[in-house]
């Protein structure tokens, strides 16, 4: 664990990307194989699940440190991180012991299966063995919230430096359903056989939002446009008679969308399609809220299946006849995709994402204005000559989303953030006017600069009207422009609406609270787009 803690400290101790990558590459050269493998797993989102409740952990730590629970809670509120608070308040380790990262993770995973009373002595023993950063990291693994501030892309780059294997190749090898227990460094990272796993997806190609005038992209003829659908980006894999559906977050979601099993009978094995899972009926996509009913449950009731059937809106063909065709130009891949889907019956759970045809950039801009009417959230632009690249890159793919909905709202409650934002008021509740009443309708916690958060924090402290635990009711004085991507009816909220991706677009210091938007404004949006 010492070597891993040193890596963590090195990553935490610099803001320079090159230094982070170098530290990781060194680690991948030096650390024991099992630890390396676990590090790759942790940095690609394969964390062990929480193995003990936060309340228990806090209680045991306070007891061990000889502190009352209220004082632990006060300290936690200031540190903003449970794992860190515990690591800081415990006495120095009485019996320091060195075990590898892999061994500690095995301990954390073993704990998950034990009854509560057996967890406690083992966790106390771990706290006696580990000090400083190691104790903090162990706690992070225990609470299931482990993050290292290094993206998967950077990790892959470091791995490429350490092994000499090209980055895109590594990105592909690290996709899919693997775990350090069932594989080895040699077979996962070094073996030149990504197809060994029939379910393995390709790394998704992602786009940046276009900035400025799309005309800067060059001749319109070089570009293909289509709607940017608002569903779940997915990759459908048909190989060896089975099918697998992966989300962009590398989650296997096959069983949540049984409709797509039909693709096995309609398309040849050795086919991989990139597309968007959409709730779809009557020839058009249903609001995202309908698709939401299908997320987060393992099995789908018949009624929901009937009311919110899904299709895969196909964007791209990555594998055909068992061959990886990602290096072929987009125009060719798209043509082959179209040919493949053309023969499908209309009730098939796959559709070809229609092209948004345009002659000049002005025409495309007009199309974009109609996105919402088409049930889309904007346009995607793809260079016809481009290969299918791994990860988020600038150059060949762009998204051109419509401007978000926006509403001017009054801040009414504030709550402090966690981690990097501990001690700063960053989570706010916003309200709109309903006559003389302010009706809360959404929370938002992103979109301001650190300096703005610091300024509003100082204001919140001086303008608190009431406290409810960590939440403060504040003087209704400040107006913020709230942006969001969608609106739907909700019986769970007093305002009767729920927003999608709400965030603060800007602090309207020019606007008095009395001039903020009204509930009627929100309802008008709901009637149009809900």
């Amino acid at each position: 664990m010492k070597r891993f803690a040193a890596l963590f400290a090195a990553l935490d101790g610099t803001t320079r990307t090159s230094a982070k990558v170098a530290a990781l590459a060194d680690y991948f050269r030096e650390a024991p194989e099992a630890d390396r493998l676990w590090t790759v797993a942790l940095l690609s989102g394969r964390r062990p699940k929480r193995s003990v409740s936060a309340t228990r952990l806090a209680g045991w730590a306070a007891e061990r440190a000889g502190l009352p629970e209220w004082l632990f809670a006060d300290a936690y509120a200031v540190a903003g991180d449970l794992a860190e608070t515990i690591a800081l308040i415990l006495p120095e380790p009485a019996r320091p012991a060195e075990r590898s990262l892999a061994e500690w993770i095995a301990e954390v995973r073993a704990l998950a299966a034990l009854p509560e009373e057996e967890k406690k002595p083992r966790i106390l023993a771990a706290w006696e063995a580990l000090g400083g950063t190691e104790r903090f990291l162990f706690n992070k693994l225990l609470t299931g919230g482990f993050r290292m501030g290094v993206s998967q892309t950077l990790m892959t780059r470091a791995l490429a430096q350490a092994t000499g294997i090209p980055e895109p190749e590594l990105a592909h090898r690290l996709m899919g359903d693997w775990s350090p227990e069932r594989t080895s460094w040699a077979s996962l990272v070094l073996a030149d056989d990504p197809a060994a796993d029939l379910s393995r997806p390709y790394p998704f190609c992602l786009a940046y939002q276009i900035e400025g005038d799309p005309a800067a992209l060059g001749p319109p003829a070089d570009w293909f446009a289509e709607w940017k659908w608002d569903g779940i980006r997915g990759q459908l894999i048909l190989r060896g008679g089975a099918h697998h559906l992966w989300s962009r977050g590398e989650e296997l979601i096959t069983d949540r969308f049984p409709e797509l099993a039909g693709a096995r009978d309609l398309l040849p094995p050795g086919t991989v399609i990139d597309g968007e899972v959409l709730a779809f009926a009557g020839g058009r996509p249903l609001p995202f809220a309908q698709l939401q009913r299908r997320i987060g449950r393992k099995s789908v009731p018949r009624s929901v299946l009937a009311e919110a059937p899904v299709v895969l809106m196909a964007y791209d063909l990555l594998e055909a006849g068992g061959a990886d065709i990602r290096q072929r130009p987009f125009a060719e891949r798209r043509a082959r995709l179209a040919a493949l889907l053309a023969a499908l019956p209309p009730e098939a759970p796959l559709r070809l994402s229609p092209e948004a045809v345009f002659d000049d950039w002005a025409a495309l801009a007009r199309l974009r204005e109609r996105s919402r009417a088409a049930g889309a959230e904007g346009l995607m632009l793809k260079r016809r000559a481009a290969p299918y690249l791994a990860g988020r890159r600038k150059g060949d793919w762009w998204k051109w989303k419509v401007d978000p909905f926006s509403i001017d709202a009054v801040m009414v409650y504030a709550q402090a953030g966690h981690g990097r934002r501990a001690n700063l008021y960053t989570d706010f509740t916003f309200a709109v006017w309903d006559g003389d009443d302010l009706v809360p309708f959404t929370r938002a916690y992103s979109g301001l600069t650190d300096a703005e958060f610091a300024r509003i924090t100082a204001w919140v402290r001086k303008n608190t009207l009431e406290r409810f635990g960590p939440v403060r009711r504040v003087r209704p004085e400040h107006v913020f422009e709230i942006g969001f991507e969608g609106i739907q009816r909700s019986s769970r909220h007093r305002s009767g609406v729920a927003l999608r991706f709400p965030r603060m677009l800007r602090w309207r210091e020019d606007k008095p609270a009395a001039e903020a938007s009204t509930l009627a404004d929100l309802r008008a949006l709901l009637d149009l787009y809900g």
């Binding site: 004082l71 800081l88 501030g149 990097r420 650190d450 300096a451």
Partner: protein, 392 residues
């Protein structure tokens, strides 16, 4: 805290607690600050009063506009320099009678000359700690526990998550970082408060390892302290004309707010760090976006506060300046007669202003052009606001 200090404080704790004196007491709180009615003086008042006892020169303790100032000998030069006022002085331990109260100052270990103010009348003794640090460093007079009935204690770091490593270990970490940067040909810029922290670092690190440059605000304090006889290693003030390339691998001591400003540009691809007790918290460390955070504080940590309280033997302990609500409740549960004073402009301690006067810091940020000056100011304002959480 050194082992010797721990031993000394523990010995103090072993003695019986001194019972609180009858009240109305020797100390009260007015809208101007902590007041001693019998002596007719305030201690570290935040608004103008006729007579002020000032524990030390940090801006939240030494404020302008008082009719008369009394401070410990070692703290006076900085106060005179910063406020431009005459300051009467006392040596540590030397008694003076004001009204019917015998006043003495005792070392607090926060900055050179920083004092705990003690008052005594008719057998009743109180001590107002000012800012204090129980572990000795190589700069300030070491903290001395004082027996008293009532102890008014700061609690800037009055939560159990704050526990410092020994002085030598903390300084060695700075040395290692500087050495690493020197080896890579990079300048090391270390943000530290201009009064106290910067000089403590100068006295504690391996200063001979390379050239040391200073921000104007730091160098101004260096000059004042050198003039009063404190020995500091040689430093070079950063001025607009200074060719920083002539000092490869230099260590630059800067004010915390200079770190985010245009003033930094001259050092190129520098490694940056802060030295502050707040660096104990990862969230604050990350928010500051420096490469490193050294946990070096001029205040007592959790154990230091508790040991200091025990060593006074006081039965009555008043928490001020910091996590007052938490620390007060903790003291109460430990069996003390506990109270709290919310100092004005502080409220929650994380909101406390930087001990440097902003004006001084900005005046000393010698920007080369008008535009740069503006950028520096905006940068300073931004960083200053963002770091309310990190002010010490």
């Amino acid at each position: 805290m050194s082992l010797a200090d721990r031993g000394r404080l523990a010995a103090g704790a072993a003695r019986a607690r001194v019972p609180a004196m009858a009240r109305p007491d020797l100390l009260t709180v007015t809208d101007r600050g902590i007041f001693c009615p019998a002596g007719g003086f305030h201690i570290d008042p935040w608004r103008p009063v006729a007579r002020a006892l000032v524990t030390h020169g940090h801006a939240d303790h030494a404020r302008p506009g008082m009719g008369a100032y009394l401070a410990a000998e070692g703290a006076a030069p900085v106060i005179r320099h910063r406020l431009g006022v005459p300051v009467q002085t006392l040596r540590f331990g030397e008694p003076v009678t004001i009204g019917g109260v015998t006043v003495r100052f005792h070392p607090a270990g926060n900055v050179p000359g920083s004092a705990q103010d003690q008052g005594e009348r008719a057998g009743g003794v109180w001590v107002v700690s000012g800012d204090y640090k129980t572990e000795a460093d190589r700069l300030s007079e070491p903290f001395e526990p004082v027996r008293c009935h009532t102890f008014v204690t700061e609690c800037t770091f009055g939560l159990p998550v704050f526990r410092w490593r020994p002085e030598a270990e903390a300084m060695a970490a700075v040395d290692a970082w500087w050495a690493e940067n020197r080896a890579e040909g990079r300048v090391s810029v270390l943000g530290a408060y201009a009064l106290g922290k910067a000089q403590r670092l100068l006295a504690g690190i391996d200063a001979g390892a390379g050239p040391i440059l200073t921000h104007g605000a730091v160098e101004t304090v260096n000059a004042v302290l050198r003039a009063q006889g404190l020995r500091l290693p040689p430093t070079i003030r950063v001025t607009p004309g200074l060719d920083v390339r002539a000092y490869p691998g230099a260590l630059v001591l800067a004010t915390p707010s200079a770190l985010g400003s245009a003033w930094m540009r001259r050092f190129g691809r520098a490694s940056t760090a802060f030295a502050s007790g707040w660096m104990a918290l990862r969230g604050i460390r990350r928010r500051r976006a420096a490469d490193r955070g050294f946990v070096i504080s001029d205040h007592a940590d959790w154990e230091g506060l508790n040991a200091a309280v025990r060593a006074t033997g006081a039965a009555r302990v008043i928490a001020t300046h910091g996590y007052t609500a938490s620390f007060r409740r903790w003291l109460e549960e430990q069996g003390y007669e506990a109270g709290a004073i919310e100092t004005e402009f502080a409220g929650e301690s994380l909101e406390a202003p930087e001990p440097e006067t902003e004006a001084e810091t900005e005046a000393e940020t010698e920007a080369e052009t008008e535009a740069e000056a503006e950028a520096a100011e905006t940068g300073t304002a931004g960083a200053g606001a963002a770091e309310t959480g990190a002010a010490e």
